[in-house]
Symmetry: C2
Subunit: 137 residues, 2 copies
């Protein structure tokens, strides 16, 4: 178990490093850490309302509103009014906002490349099988 934790620690750091490098690469976006966190959370929630976003981030609605206003202003997010409930709107990422995904994909691609460099065909097969067991609950 100790060995496994150790391996996980090194692996997590590697993932973290790659994500960090990707973030630097895409720094063009000119977003703060916090703003990226907002975009990532929106992305995971899949077009949440402001209320849902605030609940997930554990922040007040006015706080989240001003942050979203800025992201709308900067064209990373658009509000799409709901027809079912006319009080409410869904937050969508614009093409520009989706660069967040591109950034993560870039990191994942680099990690995958590194793996395929270190393992031969057969080992890669094995690795994929084991990871599938780990990740499928």
């Amino acid at each position: 178990m100790k060995k496994l934790i150790e391996i996980v620690a090194i692996g997590s750091n590697m993932v973290g490093l790659m994500e960090e490098q990707a973030r630097e690469q895409f720094n063009l976006l000119n977003l703060t850490l916090t703003q990226m966190h907002y975009l990532e959370t929106m992305n995971k929630l899949d077009n949440p309302s402001l209320t849902e976003l605030a609940a997930t981030l554990k922040l007040s609605k006015p706080t989240v509103k001003v942050a979203v206003d800025k992201l709308v202003e900067k064209d990373f997010v658009i509000r799409v009014r709901s027809d079912e409930d006319r009080r409410s709107a869904h937050l969508h990422l614009t093409e520009k906002g989706k660069l967040i995904n591109t950034m993560h994909e870039y990191a994942h691609k680099r990690i995958a490349e590194s793996i395929s460099r270190k393992l031969n065909e057969e080992e890669q097969e094995q690795f994929i099988l084991l990871m599938e067991k780990i990740l499928n609950k």
Copy 2:
């Protein structure tokens, strides 16, 4: 390769989720995202000077100074004057500051536990071997 990228994406998200949950668990620290980022960077740099920290974070020295002042104030960091160069000081994490590590260790432990639940003894051996190949450059 496509399969591998996919697996990496899911695995990265899992790691990210666990780290996020650990962060929530340790929210007691009452630190902002940015402040945690400072502590993590200090930790990686191993007692850096203010100048080194600023360079790594790509921020100006006055910016980093005010942030470090607050972390010192809150007892997460101490300044240790250098004897070789009396202009300079090294930034050390206090016991309280090292809770950042504890937090990551907690996440890693949970991931390792999940792996050992999903894989039998033999598969775990295999997994460790493959990961060692991947992580040793």
